[in-house]
């Protein structure tokens, strides 16, 4: 009788590959991080919102309430780092993560080996990328990006703080972001007539009145000019050789963009990466909340072998104030790509 092959279960080749990658990260001085498979749902829901429930396996723990099968290591790692009140640190971890899939054939559980750096700027970006590149070897080619460009251009938009805040809130939802831009390029609708209907629920009539007043004030804000929208759209579409993309970004007439372009230039120099392929908003819709440097390694036509990026805002959202960058490798994809 032939042995049944269960591709989702760690094989010895996979285990060996995970150990090889973890050893590379440890050699860079990373301390090991471990966390349980069952994670409290609260912090994940606070950060990712309701969408995480469609992506993670959710279960009910009779003592601890709603619990999720670890969908990533980032959130428990940041939580523990912030709780420990620590500044600069570097971590490595290896273990399974679990994702619900509605498309047959996608892995529901797979091993991730990660390397995360707390503290540091573009030199940390370069090191995180370098560590992952070393682990991947020649098995897959990188593409890099920088969501910090779009964020800087939005922060520099000359419009009301309310509109800037709404755009920043939806930077990671591309369709909604585009809809907001289109909306702000026209005269916004005024609120409908105030109703006399009965007040029910936790949101008070005073809150309704406050938002009506804000909408009326917003109607007086001049629509975004085509010259304001065009650089944002150019940034979203920006791709090509990194050195060329850098020059193109430098030519865009967008207030507030210059420091982000300088940061990109410094990073490309630190990495020696001007010839790598670049997509400005790479990883924007991946639900990882990257807010700066991003990268993906994929074999030709294959799924990602490794992904990573900078997530300073995620740390801030979890109460910390240390910048962070990191990446994860999927050893199963490396085994599949034939490095072993």
């Amino acid at each position: 009788m032939a042995l049944e092959v269960r591709p989702e279960e760690p094989s010895s080749a996979l285990r060996a590959e995970a150990e090889r990658v973890a050893a590379l990260f440890a050699a860079r001085g990373a301390e090991p991080f471990e966390t349980s498979v069952l994670q409290p749902a609260g912090p994940l829901l606070d950060l990712y919102g309701e969408d995480i429930r469609a992506r993670a396996f959710v279960t009910a723990d009779p003592l601890r309430g709603e619990t999720m099968l670890r969908p990533d290591f980032t959130v428990p790692l940041v939580r523990d780092h912030v709780a420990g009140g620590r500044g600069a640190a570097r971590y490595a971890y290896a273990g399974e993560v679990f994702r619900r899939q509605e498309v047959p054939g996608r892995a529901r559980e797979y091993v991730q080996v990660g390397f995360e750096l707390f503290g540091g700027g573009v030199e940390a970006d370069a090191e995180a990328f370098g560590a992952v590149a070393e682990a991947v070897g020649g098995a897959a080619a990188p593409v890099i990006g920088d969501i910090g460009l779009l964020l800087a251009a939005v922060r520099g938009l000359e419009t009301s703080p309310r509109r800037r805040a709404a755009l920043l809130r939806h930077v990671w939802r591309p369709a909604r972001f585009r809809a907001l831009l289109a909306r702000y390029a026209e005269r916004p609708p005024m609120p409908g007539p105030a109703g006399a209907a009965e007040e029910i629920g936790a949101r008070s009539r005073a809150e309704v009145e406050a938002r009506r007043a804000a909408m009326e004030a917003d109607a007086a804000v001049p629509p975004l000019a085509p010259g304001q929208v065009a650089p944002l759209e150019a940034l979203i579409a920006l791709r090509g050789r990194a050195g060329d993309a850098l020059e193109a970004a430098g030519r865009l007439d967008a207030p507030g963009l210059a420091p982000a372009v300088e940061r990109l230039a410094a990073r490309l120099d630190a990495m020696g990466a001007r010839d790598l392929p670049f997509e400005a908003t790479l990883g924007r819709a991946s639900m990882e909340y990257y807010d700066g440097f991003t990268f993906v390694f994929a074999a030709k036509g294959g799924p990602p072998v490794a992904t990573g990026g900078r997530y300073d805002a995620l740390v801030r959202a979890m109460g910390g104030d240390v910048p962070a960058v990191g990446g994860v490798v999927r050893p199963a994809a490396l085994v599949g790509a034939g490095t072993c």
Binding site: L45, G49, E50, D51, R53, A54, E102, A166, R169, H170, R173, A175, R176, F177, A179, R183, P191, G192, P193, A194, G195, A196, A197, E198, E199, I200, G201, A202, R203, R205, E207, V208, A210, R211, R212, M215
Partner: protein, 222 residues
């Protein structure tokens, strides 16, 4: 052989029997009124089975029955792998997103998103939307780019949860909107999540024999 699940009581069963009768198929009880034994006359190779309406979607998903009559809402919510053979023209109900009528600043999903942001800032928690249709509601809100909300489970009397303090808004099934209005709620202009009615479904897990299916499908279409 092909197994067809039919709702076991109430108006759904009556209307299904009428729909079948109009196509020359007679649903006939074979036991006492209390048990669920039933036969389908007028077609070869199709066996009818009475089932509680709420269980038919699950039976199709498991391939326990090949065909079944149930609402589109239950099939889509359960992500049941089943193909719609025919819409039967009854059991109409819409899954809608509704907010308190006095929220005069909130007419669209765009507004709901802005309200959710305001609510989280002011109350320190996400806006609660009560529903039993988690999957469909989450997909619709994701599509519209609504953030900062949380779904809370409500298995009955969902329209009363806002006044009862259990949620700030709801996503629920309505046929006329009367119950929503009576509970001081209003459907958002773009708050239609799914138009549902009773349909005939074929399981994609086990669709049964092709011959009797073609016969039945031809009658359903005719």
């Amino acid at each position: 052989m092909l197994t067809l699940a039919v709702p076991s009581k109430g108006r759904l069963m009556e209307r299904t029997a009428q729909w079948l009768a109009a196509r020359g198929l007679r649903l006939r009880r074979t036991g006492t009124a209390r048990d669920y034994a039933v036969a389908l006359d007028g077609i070869e190779g199709v066996e009818a089975r009475l089932m509680s309406a709420g269980e038919i979607a699950g039976a199709l998903a498991a391939g326990e029955v090949n065909l079944g009559v149930t609402g589109r809402d239950l099939i889509r919510e359960g992500a049941v792998r089943a193909e719609e053979v025919a819409a039967l023209g009854f059991g109409h109900a819409d899954l809608v997103i509704a907010v308190p009528d006095f929220w005069s600043d909130c007419r669209t999903l765009h507004d709901l998103d802005a309200v959710a942001a305001q609510f989280r800032e002011g109350h320190g928690r996400r806006l609660r939307i009560a529903t039993k249709y988690h999957r469909l509601t989450r997909a619709a809100l994701r599509e519209a780019g609504v953030a900062d909300y949380v779904l809370v489970d409500s298995q009955g009397a969902t329209e009363g949860t806002v006044a009862g303090g259990g949620a700030e808004a709801i996503a629920d099934i309505t046929s006329t909107g009367e119950t929503l209005r009576a509970n001081h709620l209003r459907v958002l202009e773009d708050g239609m999540v799914l138009r549902s009615e009773a349909c005939l479904w074929r399981s994609q897990v086990d669709g049964g024999d092709e011959g009797p299916f073609r016969d039945l499908a031809a009658r359903a279409a005719g």
